[in-house]
């Protein structure tokens, strides 16, 4: 029962969507309009999974007396405090927005901007020209960067033109090939799930 019911639900869920897409009766019934809403509700109901997992992880660390105790405490205090504030005020509340704009937004963009340093050091290591392929990649990246900034245009109009060609022809061709391959792989995986060959999600 623990495997049969979930496997049946998987097949039924596939059939509902496929039926309403490929069959005239299914399309007329517009089943997915209702089931999409139901699905969103199941997602919404599961919203606390992340909070529970974080709580378990950090409580476990606290119990084990790891050297990150003070940070674990801060995380739990801030997470539950900010959540309580949001529930009390809604996400449009004055204090909630204050914290959002003063802390979360800067932390978010700074965390991603930090990657600029690491991308630079990674590119230094990756782009040491060891092969013809590495040289192609390095030249493409350099042309795209130079061609996008005013300096490139000032040096030569060939840089923006080369960038435009790379984006329009080379990048589109490469990524379209990858996308078609990934799309066919996705279709094959969906078939495997439908036929019950792929059952990794049934292992709880």
């Amino acid at each position: 029962m623990a495997r049969e019911i979930p496997a049946t639900i998987t097949v039924l869920a596939v059939l509902v969507v496929v039926f309403s897409r490929y069959f005239a009766v299914g399309a007329a019934l517009d089943l997915t309009r209702v089931t999409d809403r139901w699905l969103m509700l199941t997602y919404a109901a599961s919203v606390f999974v992340g909070v529970i997992n974080l709580t378990r992880l950090h409580l476990d660390r606290l119990r084990r007396g790891k050297d990150t105790r003070s940070y674990d405490l801060v995380l739990l205090f801030v997470m539950y405090g900010y959540m309580a504030l949001g529930f009390a005020q809604t996400n449009a509340g004055v204090t909630f927005r204050w914290v959002y704009n003063a802390v979360l937004v800067p932390l978010d963009s700074t965390m991603y901007s930090l990657l600029a340093f690491y991308i630079a050091s990674a590119s230094f290591r990756a782009f040491r020209v060891r092969s013809f392929e590495a040289a192609l990649m390095m030249v493409a990246a350099a042309l795209v960067m130079i061609g996008s900034v005013p300096l490139g245009d000032a040096l030569s109009p060939a840089f923006p033109a080369a960038r435009a060609w790379l984006m329009r022809v080379a990048q589109t061709a490469g990524f379209r090939g990858i996308q078609i391959g990934a799309g066919l792989g996705g279709l094959a995986t969906a078939f495997r799930i439908f036929l019950g060959i792929e059952r990794a999600h049934l292992r709880a």
């Binding site: 992340g50 090939g177 049934l202």
Partner: protein
Amino acid sequence: MAMTRAQVWVAAVATLAIFSYVWRENPAFRLAEYVFVALATANGVVMVFDSYLKPFFLVDIKQDGQFLLLVPFAVGLLIYARNLRGLGWLSRLPMSLWVGYGAGYVLAWSPQPLFIQLRDTFVHFYQVYPDGPLAGRFWLGGTVNNILFFAGVTTTLMYFFFTVERRGPVMRWSAAFGRWTIMLALGAAFGTAVQGRMSLLIGRIQFLLGTWLGWLK
């Protein structure tokens, strides 16, 4: 949105705490990292609560009496059973629904755009100037681009084609051309990614030097 002076100071301290990681791992960065995870998680929960759960209980259930909607909600709640000893298998019910629904959507909706992309790969090689003084005359640049584009897509696919062993010059050279196309595409994507990060970095530096310290006018 304009920030108050207190917000600017808090944001500046948070920004410097994250940037301090460039020097080395330190308590200020670690604290900012933990606060970031906590705030991002809580913010996500509050957004879902306000956008879905609140209207669901107040409007759909209380006001409109759509009690049937409690069924999918209850199915969603079963995901928490993974934390209950002996009842963990119940969490497979919503999981199987999500996976099945996702697979159904892939089977129902992904073939069409996929085959449109495939069809649009077969471009006309012979190109003429679309406008200008040479309109209607043979256009070498457009023709070469279309040949390269078609060759790029097909050979990229051949590079990932492992069913047949790459023997013979056709298979080997087409796979090599595919690899070069992929390298050019990844290089271009890498350049774009670097620029995106740089743009964020410049934004943060402008904030520190301009909004916070007032050195930039």
